[in-house]
């Protein structure tokens, strides 16, 4: 029984003291592997979207905003889903890194959601004739923004970082019920918002010339999300462990 507790406490100590500095060091290298594809892909998407791709047969040049709108809308949902997944990991396995991930990903996800809403409004005016309608897809995307803001607000109002991380984990899990509702809102209520541009079953309704920049944009935005979140995590990690020796050592050594 004593050896069992000793093993457990040793393992816990290893987790606490071992993995965080390791992650901090290794993540600096991962960040580069995310940053390079992010910059390359997004640059390609922007250039292709603005210049290379022909105008749409119906919407003309207006549709070019799609190359920003669609990837950010995808990422807004994807980021929340990963946060909920990390929430499960944080609560079940008590993994500190998962808590930190949620805290770091929330502002990034909120930014993507905001970007999707703004570009959607800009796109909506010329095509639908209105900046905003209380359409199911738009409304639920707005609610997603509020979910992100809720996680951020909860994190800011709890003083103890450990508790704040776990509280945010639970809230992300509870909020994930909205993600399928957002995803299916276009199918359930036949609304103004068009259906998915790409779907796994139905294939794409897009010309391949137009499609490739979009896919590149999605990849680029995903890498951007990973990159920004990783940096956010590193900052959170330094702040949380600011009293520990390994942080001191790294700051002293530069």
């Amino acid at each position: 029984m004593t050896s069992f507790t000793m093993g457990k406490s040793l393992r816990r100590r290893f987790h606490r003291l071992g993995s965080l500095p390791y992650f901090y060091d290794v993540s600096a290298r991962w960040a580069i592997w995310l940053a390079v594809p992010a910059v390359v892909c997004i640059a390609y998407t922007v250039i292709a979207g603005l210049v290379l791709v022909p105008p749409d047969y119906q919407q003309g040049d207006v549709f070019r905003i799609l190359y920003i709108h669609v990837p950010s809308a995808w990422l807004s949902l994807f980021a929340y889903t990963t946060m909920a997944g990390a929430g499960v990991v944080a609560l079940v396995w008590r993994l500190k890194l998962a808590e930190i991930f949620i805290v770091a990903a929330a502002p990034v996800g909120a930014s993507f959601t905001g970007l999707a809403l703004v570009t959607g409004a800009i796109w909506g005016e010329p095509t639908w004739g209105t900046y905003w309608v209380w359409d199911a897809r738009l409304t639920s995307e707005l609610i997603l923004l509020f979910l992100y803001l809720g996680v951020i607000a909860l994190h800011q109002s709890i003083a103890s970082p450990r508790t704040a991380g776990r509280a945010c984990a639970l809230l992300s899990i509870v909020g994930v019920i909205n993600v399928p509702i957002i995803h299916y809102s276009v199918v359930w209520w036949t609304t103004l918002h068009q259906g998915a541009t790409l779907s796994l079953s139905g294939g794409s309704h897009m010309e391949s010339d137009m499609l490739w920049p979009l896919l590149a944009g999605a990849l680029g935005f995903s890498c951007l999300f990973g990159w920004l979140t990783l940096w956010g995590m590193r900052v959170q990690l330094l702040w949380r462990e600011r009293r520990s020796r390994w942080v001191m050592r790294r700051i002293v050594n530069g």
Binding site: M1, T2, T5, S9, S160, R162, R243
Partner: protein, 202 residues
């Protein structure tokens, strides 16, 4: 020899700041452990951490369980009395004893009898908010008679009590320790318990 409670290198606090220097002590069945320290030294936090309500900042707490119980059954009396103001003492104690021993039938008569030994018979069915601070404390201490956990964690048990009630509670605690319970308590008053161990927080 395995001890019922062994604490090694324990540091606790709310948030990240530890309230006292690392703590090591053990307690066996029948021990009465007095936790001493100034106001804000972390006595209540330590009791909460021992009860598993707070996670320690570092260090370990090992409860040596009996063969047939996974967790040691544990009673905690905090500063707060755990009494609903709108319910009567009897109603409150019914719930508290049911929480501690779901299977046993502690009936109303037993509770009223216990309240009588503490001089509260007349108030047994009054709403708790009509009682004085000392009377409320006595109601919550009636748990010492009603339920029998292996470990009692008592935070300032005799605060606000008059000397007669204080003596009665001290006798009861000594009797419980004699029966093999572990008592961990904090106090600023003189309680006249035969402390077997003393832990000072600094």
């Amino acid at each position: 020899m395995t001890h019922r409670l062994s604490v090694a290198g324990l540091r606790c606090g709310r948030g990240e700041r530890a309230l006292f220097a690392p703590l090591d002590f053990v307690a066996d069945d029948g021990d009465i452990v007095r936790i001493s320290g100034t106001n804000g030294a972390g006595k209540s936090t330590l009791l909460h951490t021992l009860a598993g309500l707070l996670s320690p900042i570092s260090g370990t707490i090992d409860w040596c369980p009996d063969a047939n119980e996974a967790v040691p059954s544990l009673g905690l009396i905090e500063h707060q009395n755990a009494l609903s103001q709108v319910l009567s003492p009897v109603e409150n104690l019914t719930l508290l004893s049911r929480l501690a021993h779901p299977a046993s039938r502690i009936d109303q008569a037993t509770i009223v009898d216990t309240l009588e030994t503490l001089g509260l018979r007349r108030l047994a069915h009054q709403p708790t908010h009509t009682l004085s601070a000392g009377q409320k404390r006595r109601v919550t201490l009636a748990r010492l008679w009603l339920i029998a956990p292996r470990v009692w964690l008592l935070d300032e048990p005799v605060a606000a009590l008059d000397s007669a009630a204080r003596r009665r509670v001290s006798q009861r605690i000594t009797r419980l320790a004699g029966g093999g319970s572990v008592i961990v308590y904090t106090t600023h008053e003189r309680m006249g318990l035969g402390d077997t161990r003393c832990v000072a927080l600094d």
